[in-house]
């Protein structure tokens, strides 16, 4: 089904005004005081918001909208607002599948996480541009969604082609159909357009080629990790911004009779991360913690969730104070393995 872009924008504004769909909030990628040069950040839609649903991923990961940086988890949230998030990219949708496996599985359900996810409909959109750190194609991803999405938008010639991927997506499409003009027409060759972005990604990341034999990374010499981590200052920006990192700390913030637990993000890059009472820690050196992050993404998460923990968004590289390029490290480590 297709819809004219302006008409879709109008639909979003109507949702924002709660005229349709009972949404309490609509969130879009928009330019803010924190963004520059075409960057965008997820923001609540307002009447005058400048937003672009297409282009490339936001600077902040989608996870920050359903796995909060700091949130009270006991007693849990009674309810969360019904939300519509529009303009998520494939790398974030893939990351959401990793987090879903971690936060909502047979053994464990995080009540807040589940509630936020249940009350949110996510509209993804094909990437129509890439940024310098984008590298989804290096990890088997694509700049457009293939699974795990509700409704997807592919922009072409002033139209959005809408594809549904879930029950929520179908319901949303129905709602759009009732409130705007949608057509069953073919406004252009989406595949060609998608292929063009894939080609751009492949060209950009050519020099970072890797074997993808991640299970061998465990056997890489410590010297190699030491070399690769020399510039790292251990600030933890990479893990906070990573769409699949979910390490948490639980704090007791009890006042009065009701026990209260608050969870916040933690980072395995910080020296105190795994330190126990008495001072012992399994990873006292920076290169050990640095290595842990890479092995977690490519080995441990693969063992635990059958998915690697990198979706190629490149935010860690963008956020790195020491300008360490994640792709370059993986490329170097990979080369060590290949030489064995």
């Amino acid at each position: 089904m297709t819809i004219k872009v302006e008409m879709f924008y109008d639909f979003l504004q109507q949702c924002r005004e709660s005229k349709i769909g009972n949404f309490q909030q609509v969130i879009v990628p928009a330019s803010t005081k924190f963004t520059t040069d075409g960057q965008q950040q997820f923001s609540p839609l307002a009447e005058d918001t400048t937003f672009n649903l297409d282009t490339y991923r936001t600077i902040d990961p989608l996870k920050m909208l359903y796995y909060y940086f700091r949130e009270r988890v006991y007693p849990e949230n009674g309810k969360t607002p019904k939300r519509l998030i529009v303009g998520a990219k494939a790398c974030d949708i893939a990351a959401m599948r990793v987090l879903d496996k971690a936060m909502d599985n047979d053994d464990f359900v995080d009540p807040n996480y589940k509630l936020w996810r249940e009350n949110t409909t996510i509209v993804s959109a094909d990437c129509t541009e890439i940024c310098p750190t984008c590298h989804c194609t290096l990890v088997g991803g694509k700049p457009f969604v293939t699974e795990g999405f509700d409704l997807n938008l592919s922009r072409i010639n002033g139209n959005y082609v809408m594809t549904t991927g879930s029950k929520k997506g179908k319901e949303l499409l129905e709602l759009i159909g009732k409130n705007a003009e949608i057509k069953e027409s073919d406004p252009g060759d989406i595949e060609k357009q998608r292929k063009e972005i894939v080609t751009q990604l492949e060209r950009q990341n050519k020099s970072y080629a890797r074997s993808g034999v991640y299970e061998k990374y465990r056997s890489v010499d410590m010297d190699s990790w030491n070399d690769n981590s020399k510039a790292c200052i251990g600030c933890g920006a990479c893990t906070n911004i990573c769409p699949t990192c979910y390490c948490l700390i639980l704090n007791d913030e009890t006042k009065g009779q009701q026990f209260t637990k608050v969870r916040s993000y933690d980072s395995c890059q910080l020296s105190g991360y795994a330190r126990v009472a008495g001072g012992g820690t399994p990873r006292p050196k920076m290169y050990q913690r640095f290595r842990n992050r890479y092995l977690c993404k490519f080995d441990y998460m693969k063992s635990n969730f059958n998915m690697i923990g990198c979706t190629g968004c490149g935010r860690c590289t963008e956020a790195c104070a020491a300008k360490i390029d994640f792709r370059e490290v993986v490329h170097n480590v990979d080369a060590t393995v290949a030489n064995k």
Binding site: E76, D107, P111, D252, E253, T254, K261, A277
Partner: protein, 274 residues
């Protein structure tokens, strides 16, 4: 939602036993019974201070009250050592794996512990002697820094009265102002007193990392099998259910897959003794 995994069960400290200068046992009465299996751990909360993982030191046949034996060694435990009878405390759990009692049935069991590592081992031991007829024998080797650091001093004579139990103690050193008539040396020196068949016997080890390491190595040398050596890998088990990742040993979670691991399961991971 009824099953919030972060749920805290309030409880009251009804008694405190000062075991040694640095170690005390809190006796806790939770608002409702907390059934656990020996070897599993709980998260103990001090209101507005924090929480940490501890393994109960009482028998798992008792669930309406619980003993937790804690060494003063950091921020949270300093506060725990300032608690008084009647103070409120919170409990989450139990979490993790337990000692496989079914695998100990009919066997000669060796227990090797040192320092505050005796806490979970006391839970195991009390659970075992509750059904002592199920086991062939129990050899309990306990190490401490000095005589005054020995734990559960009041109970030792009683435990030694069981004909199936051999309970041996050693201390690293005896200061001139203390008396000691038992072995002197690190915990592993007691291993030469072990008379059971290493090929078929299970062994349980818990103590400071260095003791766990050399204890395990010595047990292997004696001929104990890797899969029969059970280690309590107490790491920073922050959340208790395999989410926060602080306790990971490679792809294993100390909190969910452990804390009790057979040595064979984790022997290839790095840094397990840290």
């Amino acid at each position: 939602m009824n099953n919030n995994p972060y749920k805290v069960i309030p409880g009251e400290i009804y008694d405190i036993v000062q075991e040694s200068p640095l170690i005390r046992t809190l006796r806790i009465r939770p608002e409702r019974p907390i059934p656990f299996k020996t070897g599993q751990f709980i998260e103990l909360s001090l209101p507005d201070i924090g929480e940490g993982p501890f393994t109960p030191s009482s028998s798992h046949f008792i669930s309406d009250v619980m003993d937790v034996t804690i060494m003063k060694t950091g921020f949270l435990t300093d506060h725990i050592h300032q608690t008084k009878k009647g103070d409120r405390i919170g409990i989450r759990g139990p979490f993790g794996s337990n000692y496989p009692l079914d695998k100990f049935a009919g066997k000669d069991l060796l227990i090797l512990g040192g320092g505050c590592g005796l806490a979970p081992l006391r839970s195991l031991f009390l659970t075992l002697i509750h059904e002592i007829e199920k086991y062939k024998s129990i050899t309990f080797l306990a190490g401490a820094k000095s005589p005054k650091d020995c734990l559960f001093k009041e109970s030792v004579e009683e435990w030694r009265r069981y004909s199936k139990v051999k309970f041996l103690r050693t201390v690293d050193e005896v200061p001139s102002d203390e008396k000691w008539s038992e072995t002197v040396g690190v915990a592993t020196v007691l291993l030469k007193e072990v008379k059971i068949d290493p090929k078929t016997s299970p062994a349980v080890v818990c103590g400071p990392p260095i003791m766990m390491k050399y204890g395990t190595m010595d047990l292997l040398k004696l001929g104990f099998r890797e899969e029969n050596i059970y280690l309590s890998m107490e790491k920073k088990m922050y959340c208790g259910f395999g989410q926060c990742r602080h306790c990971v040993i490679g792809e294993h979670y100390a909190c969910k897959d452990g804390p009790v691991f057979p040595y064979s399961q984790i022997k290839n991971e790095e840094d397990i003794w840290e």
